[in-house]
């Protein structure tokens, strides 16, 4: 890759290119230029909290306390963390139904998120949206969207607004490999480039749609990176299980967008540890594939790297303990909340707060 953003990243690279070979990026290879220690600790903390949160969400689902559906981000934490850490307050996040991690990454508290999953009054949207629609405008979390592809076009709109209003927010839009095959992906990418919008599109390629391998339904090997040129963009492929790498590419792409350099399309290679949703055990995936990727779990890998870099283990342990306590507190608070008042059924259809369609 010889294009600007890739070059810029390559110059930061210690001993290997920023974009790992698609097949099997070797775990534990040295990172791109290490971010400052404070950032690294923050990345570690975010990932640990996401992991603990998602595990608890799964437990609560098994206990029948999380109803409906939920799509966990277990294994994909390094993407949400790397981008979340690189975003500025005020920047706009657009996520999918698999958006718990991305919501936490913007500083949204665990308790209202957990309560939303459980359909409680204290939920982030008082139970009206549910797991698939987490939104906290106050945190720049502009929504989680459950129709594959749609939110790429909406992220454009937020970026367009930032540009027209002359402010500096950048929109970051996360989506899966499967989303690259739907029409809205194409329309959004083209318009973002034509209008030179400050938006970063992040494809989390976890190799599977729901139960179908992406490779079996996609004309190219890298569903996002191999399409970049169709929009005049450079292909950007990153190891999505390496928080330093995702942070580096996020900083570069977001920085470019903020500087008026237009959109980017990043493909982060990663894997979901569990099934697609809820109780899906994900058994359709070859066992070797699962094991190989579990071996590249972004969290122990990053922990080891921090230790190797000389960070005191006690610091990490304290992060881990704090995280567990935070999750405990959040789920207790959520469990203590009553179900939403049924009057909310008719609330907020319209700006007047109600549901009446007649005069």
């Amino acid at each position: 890759m010889t294009t600007p953003l890739a070059q810029q990243l390559a110059q930061q690279t210690a001993t290997r290119p920023a974009t790992p070979p698609a097949a099997a990026p070797a775990p534990g290879t040295p990172p791109v230029q290490a971010p400052p220690e404070a950032v690294r600790l923050r990345l570690y903390q975010m990932m640990v909290e996401m992991r603990d949160f998602e595990k608890r969400a799964y437990d609560l689902f098994l206990q029948g306390l999380v109803k409906g559906t939920s799509h966990l981000g277990l294994g994909q934490e390094a993407v949400a963390a790397g981008f979340g850490a690189a975003m500025h307050p005020g920047d706009y996040t657009f996520a999918t139904y698999r958006g718990h991690n991305h919501t936490l990454a913007r500083g949204v508290q665990m308790a209202p998120v957990m309560a939303e999953l459980m359909g409680r009054q204290s939920g982030l949207m008082a139970g009206k949206g549910g797991s698939m629609h987490l939104t906290s405008v106050a945190h720049g979390m502009m929504g989680s969207y459950a129709i594959v592809g749609a939110h790429l076009t909406i992220a454009n709109g937020a970026a367009w607004s930032s540009k027209l209003r002359g402010t500096s927010e950048v929109a970051v839009c996360f989506f899966g490999d499967g989303a690259t095959n739907i029409g809205a992906f194409h329309e959004a990418l083209n318009l973002a480039v034509v209008w030179q919008l400050p938006v970063v599109f992040v494809c989390e390629n976890n190799r599977w749609m729901e139960y179908t391998p992406i490779s079996s339904v996609t004309a190219v090997a890298h569903p996002a990176a191999d399409r970049a040129a169709a929009y005049g963009l450079e292909p950007l492929l990153v190891d999505g299980n390496d928080a330093d790498a995702t942070y580096a590419i996020a900083s570069a792409a977001i920085g470019r967008a903020r500087a008026g350099g237009g959109p980017s399309l990043v493909e982060a290679e990663t894997y979901r540890h569990g099934g697609h949703s809820r109780a899906d055990p994900g058994k359709y995936r070859p066992e070797e594939e699962v094991q190989a990727w579990l071996g590249r779990d972004p969290i122990p890998r990053y922990r080891q790297r921090l230790l190797d870099a000389g960070i005191d283990e006690a610091v990490l342990v304290s992060i881990e303990e704090q995280s567990r306590r935070a999750v405990d507190a959040a789920s207790s608070a959520a469990e203590a909340s009553p179900p939403p008042d049924v009057s909310l059924v008719g609330a907020n259809v319209w700006a007047d707060g109600g549901a009446s369609w007649r005069r």
Partner: protein, 324 residues
Amino acid sequence: MAEMTYRDAVARGITQEMARDPNVVLLGEDVGAAGGVFKATVGVFDQFGPERVADTPISEQAILGAAMGAAMTGLRPIAEIMFSDFFAVCWDIVANEIAKTRYMTNGQVALPLVIRSGNGGGVRFGAQHSQSVENWAMAIPGLKVVAPSTPRDVVGLLAAAVRDPDPVLFFEQKSLYATKGDVPDGEIVDELGKAAVRRHGKDATVVALAAMVPRALAAAEELATQGVEVTVIDLRSLVPLDVTTVASSVAATGHLVTVEENPRLCGWGAEVASIIAEENLFDLDGPIVRVTTPHVPLPAADALEDAAMPSVARIVEGVRRSLQ
């Protein structure tokens, strides 16, 4: 007071609102320098420039997604979907995203945006460019639905739509673009959800929308020559729906006829009929008659299209049937 076309009234309404509020922007296919394929945005680009008047690729999902994201973050976009038939290629953004977001986020997200679209038949464009789809929109909770019948209402209702804090689908009836009417000078702003009684008559209540309003009025003229005096109500908006005006007229006349351009099944006339049949049944002295396009796609040939759409004769016949 000036006489102007329905088409020019669209540009006037847009201009009025863009001049007033710098956050109002316009986007769509060919809406800029070309002035729109229906010439309904002529002059807007010249006045406000390429930043606020944005030409787009043929990407309806991207157009409405851009409008939605912009409305979430401080702008008040007016998006054009050229022909309302094309809502079908971006219905997800309308029905699943724009309509539901305020509700799903429990009020965190406001979407003050307008989607204008050329709607309806009578212009020999065939089945994929002639649909009247206001009932598609009415069926989706979270959308407001407006369809003016006169140049004056185009300005006043468009202004109301732009200032409304909720997403509004604004249907411009293609067969009306060339029609003319008086439009007062100065700012015009109406209120959504107020029907207009266009003619008063004691014998029956005829409820119509957009291009069916002039036809209903023509039918009323004809009926008057036969000694039948009907009230003609122009709904102007389907959501909010002015049930009060319709119900009180039916209470007076005892007869209800709806005139819809859309094909029959699940049209807005069915909704109006079901409201009256539920809440005002004992006011009725005769059947509720719905005059609609039959449940067929619209044919292209002029002879066939004219036979398909509700005609003055069919409206007259419908009123007579309700009076029997």
